[in-house]
């Protein structure tokens, strides 16, 4: 992202797989941090520390960010964002996505862990088309 500072925005859709233990909870943690204005930081921490995403880990990460812990734990345990996550999962299935990560770059679908060079090529084609 750093390379395209100011030229790209990243929109995150949560798509935790059912059969993974902590995937849903990690998505809850990201969205709970979002509620407190710290999504970007939590997003980075989760990516960096995956798959260490047990409840105790998530609470530790929230503390590191200095979040309001009562609120964070209440949101996490209460699965406050369940509907949001279910909405994103439903959208993923409507789009026939069965893998993560899946991307849409200005609507162009890029599936799976593609080489960074390919990703870059698509972004640069888009920027060229926009005259950036």
């Amino acid at each position: 992202m750093g390379e395209y500072e100011g030229k790209v925005r990243l929109v995150i859709k949560t798509y935790p797989y059912k059969y993974r233990d902590f995937a849903h909870m990690a998505a809850e943690a990201a969205l709970a941090a979002w509620d407190q204005g710290r999504f970007e930081e939590m997003h980075s921490i989760l990516l960096k520390n995956s798959p260490k995403l047990e409840r105790t880990n998530l609470i530790l990460y929230a503390k590191e960010l200095g979040l309001d812990m009562d609120r964070f734990i209440r949101d996490l345990d209460g699965m406050k964002h369940r509907d949001h996550i279910e909405r994103d999962k439903k959208l993923a299935l409507e789009l026939d996505l069965y893998n993560t990560p899946s991307f849409f770059i200005n609507g162009r679908r890029v599936l799976g862990n593609v080489p960074y060079e390919y990703f870059k090529k698509v972004i640069e084609e888009e920027m060229d088309a926009l005259g950036q």
């Binding site: 790209v8 925005r9 990560p101 679908r109 888009e126």
Partner: protein
């Protein structure tokens, strides 16, 4: 006349072959305007980066 129309047929066949070749080329290297673009709703989702950015990447993510 006969030879002239024969010539025209040859030109026509050549033209057809050219159109065919162009169509195949276009299909194998689609122009950016012809790339399939999906409409994915953005609202109500966390965003990293400026809302004014000309390029939008949507990522479906599983943190685990």
């Amino acid at each position: 006349m006969r030879s002239l129309s024969g010539c025209n047929l040859t030109v026509l066949a050549g033209f057809r072959a050219l159109v065919c070749a162009l169509l195949i080329l276009a299909a194998s290297t689609p122009a950016l305007a012809e790339v399939k673009r999906f409409q994915v709703p953005l609202e109500g989702s966390p965003v990293i980066g400026p809302s004014t950015a000309p390029t939008t990447i949507i990522e479906f993510i599983d943190y685990q």
